[in-house]
Symmetry: C2
Subunit: 231 residues, 2 copies
């Protein structure tokens, strides 16, 4: 966070205090945070200043304010910060290659981790999504199943840090590379090739073999990268 304008930064002090309570483990997911009144007494400032700090935490996606009930630490952080992150990445003028490398890094790791962590229920869900994907005739719906397929795997990695990166990547893909799937197919990819690589990933995960899974996902990444570049 910015260190400029030290003075008049009541909101920074309040945020630091909440941050501290979180880091100490005193505040957990879903917990109610101290009231505006408590905070305004503690910091000796107006309730307006406190409200400002809480609004900032809300925009960041850390807390949710419920009218008449108070302010609570959120339960879910899946999409937290993806909006500001995508603004930053726009400003950095990232290119398609950057996104592909980023995607490559994350997808490979999620699949490898998922291979030893995926539950039977998730395998079933993945199998169903795969079947839906190959049966579907509408391109837009097909793409949705494709995205769902990868998202199930990302969740099965059971690593919040990596899942969070996955979600950032996923929203970047959505913002920067519209309809990648359609472009890949227009670029000479056939439905059969795309289906076959997903099948391979599915089978590797079913046999819970991280090495097989790594080979399969790397093949997937290579196929879409090369097809996309032909466009």
């Amino acid at each position: 966070m910015s260190m400029e304008q030290k003075t008049d930064k009541v909101y920074q002090q309040v945020i630091d205090y909440i941050s501290c309570l979180i880091k100490e483990g005193i505040l957990k997911k879903g917990d109610k945070i101290p009231t505006e009144r408590d905070l305004s007494v503690r910091f000796g400032v107006s309730r307006n200043s406190i409200r400002e700090a809480l609004k900032i935490l809300e925009v960041i996606g850390l807390v949710v304010r419920r009218q008449g009930d108070g302010t609570f630490i959120k339960e879910q952080f899946d999409d937290c910060l993806t909006e500001p992150l995508s603004m930053v990445f726009m400003l950095e003028e990232i290119g398609i290659d950057d996104i592909f490398q980023f995607r490559n890094m994350i997808e490979v790791q999620t699949v490898v981790l998922a291979a030893s962590r995926i539950t039977d229920a998730e395998i079933q869900q993945l199998e169903m999504t795969y079947q839906n994907m190959i049966r579907e005739t509408d391109d837009v719906n097909k793409a949705k199943y494709d995205i769902e397929f990868h998202h199930i795997i990302a969740k099965a990695s059971r690593n919040v840090l990596i899942l969070n990166s996955y979600n950032v990547m996923s929203s970047l893909m959505g913002a920067f590379i519209n309809n990648i799937r359609i472009k890949v197919l227009e670029g000479g990819g056939t439905e059969e090739v795309v289906s076959a690589i997903h099948k391979k990933i599915l089978e590797a995960l079913k046999s819970r073999d991280p090495q097989l899974a790594e080979v399969a996902i790397k093949e997937h990444m290579e196929v879409i990268n090369s097809m996309f570049k032909q466009v």
Copy 2:
């Protein structure tokens, strides 16, 4: 960002507007954003409401406000969002294993990319940092050179998305695993082993060989992971 409390969210409208200007490429790094007066006329709200929105953007780390001069898009986003992200990760109760897997994913990718992108000047800088690291006798300073060594490589990856993830990871390592280097050495690691794996990475980068570099960094990760687990 939260979708609750739709009403009274002037700040969200202002943020969306700035976000839109960024995504359209109208606002770039270092640019001055519209004045409080302009924004208050555009949105038909008080300048206080506008100021609130700008404060939020400042805390997120997107803009910097200069007294009497206006508000500017930042030039550098290296550390942007690491503070809120580390709060989120605390709340998700991440473990050491999560951080190691996350680190593993990022370090391998940065080294592989750096192998074909590192400049001669960066190779020199890396060599110097390596020499300083092995010559240094003070543990704290030695650790600083070690961190610098990896950071030079991360920058040489020339991928903002991956560098940004690296910085988040790095600040997590700092916050959660204090003095990892000292723990690795206490856990039975010898200075010689640690030096040798860094030397191997350096040589692989010098020969600009991504495959050799991948082998070297994976060995590095395995060595510290296994040593750390013995502690």
